[in-house]
């Protein structure tokens, strides 16, 4: 596997413009002849499909939901970053770039991150023009809020549902292209494999989720915009349908998988309430603008929060990280919460929870101001827990939320399979070992609106692509393989449900490859995952048939892929003998319990090459070269 990041030469701030000046172009007449497949219709996929359609390409977009409008980007609450400096507080492209690189604990690719910061402003312009109602100040100009890991206010937001508004914007742009006849949308259609012909990605095999029929679609290039893999943990903040299958199938066909151990466990989620629980709900990080995080000073304190006097509370984020306080980055806040609970100071049933308290800000600003800022989040909390957060502090606990790792891509967002591009959360490139709040929406839209539409042209103009159709041998063979796999899952007819296996895998992963990891734990986990995977293929039960609407069958295929991914995550975590960002190896920490990086040996991206489900994968390395940023111990104190 050859890894060439194809980073343009020149000073950091000029790389992207220089490249754009020299990228090959596809003429309007030729664009009409080129076909593109876009898998996933979230922010990255929706934006890319719409923008490519506008350019004149023939686009087919696929999603597993019943409408392109429902991709999980819709659930993002807090906001989207951009270096507009509308607040006059000293923000700049460089600052956004630097905060993101530092936030990622110096494990991301400098050039990609700078480009992200560079196009961030244009995203806001585009979204406002589409009619996205971002919050505004009384003069009618755009408002900002603060988010973790930054000392400027650069986050744009639409109440507590920024992701919804951005996605509906991208979806409306997509609809305009459907109307124009350039984009065809295939909802309730799941990608189950990638078709590779002569070493290039030329199509996908899909399953129609209504009637179960398999179909092959061919194109000149394939864009995977299929999100992250946090559902490997079973309980996560991801939507129930989120899965790694598209990315994993591409990995099996030769796409390198980068840094799979970099996962984000988000600090502010509603704690689990029972065994039956199916998913966890995020409470936006923006709440930490006005909420204060605390636990009782002493363990075993059973008093109601209101009965614990100030002097007997530990506002541990404010104490440990005075410069950032409650807005410390996510990885650091999550670990601090875990530590407080491990010390026996957790609150609520099961004692896995900390308080997020608004008493002080309600006293300072009044309940109405807090309601305007966070009303829908407070309502959501009350519906789920039955408690009123205006009166008693919220209880929160970290939960799996985002995956920084993903398919390896070069600066052009192309994977190790020529013609296969990977955008948004599905790729690995911009967030290093930890993602800062409000950066996921920015990256998804940057990739979709402003990066892939340019870099894809270079590939299409430069590649010699033979005409292929679905009668090609590779198409037929891939369809057959998908068919066989489905039949195999249905034929097991064992005694355990898909969910029961998924839950077991999730618990194991959370324990061994979650907020803290050890060599022993990971080694043991790899063996256990292998056993569990074998048990799965021998004892799972999938009711119904393949040729019908069958939600258990959909889940069964996804969980099978989660098993293989889980093993790779543990392997990657085991190999990375350092702590960085969300990857915390207990063996490598400072005296104060912070992540201890090892830049001499691990300042690289680990890219895994698939060798077969029962074989050990091969690790390749892309060294991370920092031309502009000085590697430093990350401090938020």
């Amino acid at each position: 596997m050859k890894l060439d990041a194809r980073i343009p030469s020149g000073p950091l701030a000029e790389k992207w413009m220089n490249l754009r000046d020299h990228l090959k172009l596809v003429s309007p007449a030729n664009k009409r002849k080129r076909s593109i497949i876009v898998v996933g219709t979230g922010l990255a996929g929706g934006a890319a499909a719409a923008s490519l359609g506008e350019l004149g390409y023939r686009v087919k977009a696929f999603c597993y939901q019943d409408s392109a409008r429902r991709a999980h980007s819709i659930a993002a609450q807090g906001g989207i970053n951009a270096s507009k400096n509308y607040q006059n507080d000293g923000d700049s492209d460089f600052r956004l770039f630097y905060d993101t690189v530092k936030g990622g604990d110096f494990r991301s690719r400098e050039a990609n991150v700078y480009r992200l910061a560079e196009v961030s402003g244009a995203i806001i312009d585009q979204c406002v023009a589409q009619g996205i109602p971002f919050a505004r100040e009384y003069g009618g100009y755009l408002a900002n809020r603060s988010f973790g890991g930054a000392q400027v206010s650069r986050t744009f937001y639409a109440r507590g549902q920024t992701g919804q508004q951005l996605l509906l914007g991208a979806y409306s742009a997509l609809n305009a292209q459907v109307a124009a006849g350039t984009v065809e949308v295939h909802p309730r259609t799941e990608m189950l494999d990638l078709v590779v012909i002569d070493g290039r990605a030329r199509g996908i095999v899909t399953r129609d989720m209504v009637d179960g029929s398999l179909e092959c679609h061919v194109a000149d290039a394939v864009l995977l915009c299929t999100g992250g893999y946090s559902n490997v943990y079973f309980l996560s903040t991801n939507a129930k349908g989120c899965n790694v299958t598209a990315a994993w199938r591409a990995h099996r066909r030769g796409a390198g998988f980068a840094n799979p151990c970099y996962t984000q466990i988000h600090p502010t989620c509603i704690p689990q309430s029972g065994e039956y629980q199916s998913k966890l709900t995020l409470m936006s990080e923006s709440l930490r603008n006005d909420g204060r995080v605390w636990v009782p000073l002493k363990g075993g304190d059973e008093r109601a929060p209101g009965d614990i006097p100030e002097a007997e509370r530990d506002y541990y984020l404010e104490r440990l990280y005075p410069a950032f306080g409650n807005l410390a980055p996510r990885d650091i806040s999550s670990r601090a919460a875990k530590r407080a609970c491990d010390e026996g100071r957790g609150v609520g049933p099961g004692k896995r929870g900390v308080y997020l308290d608004f008493e002080e800000s309600i006293g300072r600003l009044g309940e109405d101001v807090i309601r305007t800022r966070y009303g829908n989040l407070f309502d959501m909390y009350e519906r789920i827990t039955g408690e009123n957060p205006y009166k008693v502090p919220m209880r929160i606990y970290p939960a799996p939320h985002y995956s920084m790792g993903g398919l390896w891509v070069d600066y052009y967002l192309m994977s190790t399979i020529p013609g296969l591009f990977v955008l948004g959360e599905a790729n690995f490139s911009d967030h290093g070992a930890n993602r800062l709040g409000a950066s996921a929406l920015m990256q998804g839209l940057a990739d979709g609106y402003f990066v892939a539409p340019y870099t894809l042209g270079e590939y299409l103009a430069g590649a010699k692509l033979d005409e292929v159709d679905t009668s090609h041998e590779s198409c037929r063979q891939t369809v057959n393989e998908v068919n066989e796999r489905t039949a195999k899952l249905l034929a097991v007819k064992g005694s355990r449900s898909v969910d029961s296996f998924h839950r077991e895998l999730g618990l194991l992963m959370l324990d061994r490859c979650g907020m803290s990891r050890t060599a022993d734990g990971l080694t043991d986990a790899i063996a256990k995952i292998r056993d569990l995977r074998e048990a799965y293929w021998n004892d799972v039960t999938v009711p119904g048939e393949g040729a019908e609407f069958n939600q258990e069958l959909e889940k069964a295929g996804r969980v099978a892929d989660h098993f293989e991914l889980a093993e790779l995550m543990c392997r990657d975590a085991l190999e990375r003998e350092e702590s960085c960002g969300g990857h915390f190896r207990e063996e490598y920490q400072t005296d104060e319990g912070e992540a201890l990086r090892n830049d001499d040996d691990f300042c690289h991206v680990t890219v895994w090459e698939y060798n077969g489900a029962d074989k050990v994968p091969t690790a390749h390395r892309e060294p991370l070269e920092f031309e502009t940023v000085q590697l430093a111990q990350r401090s938020y104190k």
Binding site: H72, A75, A129, Q130, P133, G140, M380, R383, T541, Q551
Partner: protein
């Protein structure tokens, strides 16, 4: 707590379908309604029966995937919420609960509680957008928008497209859904150029689907999980009328049904 569930079962669009009754013991009051169905489905799988199919995804009340009728009320009897946000603490031991899919000609049943809502996508494709090419937008602060205007637009932009409005309307009208989009884009300054053309095209597309017309029952507004006001319908009618009589809009080319 113990519940008796009467659930609509229908194996596909051609099947006639009917209610089946299930007894569920030990329902925890902290469960969400969908988690209760997850538990039922695990039981059914254990017994070798087909689980109940229902659409769901984010389970946070924002994706709009979930939705069915509980004891006659779309999304159940909790105002301003989707099914996934309804928790079992609102039910009592021994309750009988009837669960059925959205009933509307425009939303054919796919399986059990799953319906086909693609008619909504077709309406939005007809004109539910502001035409702006990627990269051609002016600076975001170029047009100031008063906060009241902005908040007013946002009240309509919140629609999640779940279809509860259609399911609750005695006429199966889609006007709350269509009105919400027309109002969202028509209130904002960015949406003015296409305002009347948009209303014309979307209303025509709506009439080409199997939805009925609004007769002011306001059942839609009562069940809407985002509490969207029927004022959106008034705006839709106004913009549509203006487009028809002023000739500023042009038709999408399809002949309107009379």
């Amino acid at each position: 707590m113990r519940l008796t569930l009467h659930v609509w079962r229908q194996s596909n669009a051609r099947d006639k379908g009917g209610f089946k009754t299930y007894e569920l013991e030990d329902v925890n009051t902290h469960m969400s309604f969908l988690e209760m169905l997850d538990v039922l489905n695990q039981d059914l799988i254990g017994r070798g029966e087909d689980p109940v199919a229902f659409d769901h995804d984010c389970r946070e009340g924002i994706c709009g995937s979930c939705g069915f009728v509980i004891n006659g009320v779309a999304h159940g009897d909790q105002p301003g919420s989707t099914v996934c946000q309804l928790h079992m603490r609102h039910f009592s031991d021994g309750d009988e609960v009837t669960i059925e899919p959205w009933r509307a000609k425009a939303f054919p049943v796919v399986r059990d509680l799953v319906v086909d809502r693609s008619a909504f996508d077709r309406i939005l494709t007809a004109g539910g957008f502001i035409t702006v090419r990627t990269g051609s937008a002016p600076d975001a602060n170029a047009i100031p928008i008063a906060t009241e205007t902005l908040e007013h637009a946002m009240d309509f932009a919140e629609c999640i497209g779940c279809g509860a409005c259609v399911a609750s309307c005695p006429n199966s009208a889609a006007m709350l859904f269509v009105g919400a989009k027309i109002a969202h884009l028509g209130i904002l300054p960015q949406g003015q150029s296409e305002r009347h053309q948009r209303a014309l095209a979307m209303v025509e597309a709506m009439e080409n689907e199997a939805f009925g017309a609004c007769t002011n029952f306001r059942a839609c507004e009562a069940v809407c999980p985002k509490e969207i006001s029927i004022a959106g319908i008034a705006r839709m009618n106004k913009d549509y009328r203006k487009a028809l009589f002023s000739g500023v809009g042009f038709s999408s080319g399809k002949k309107r049904k009379r």
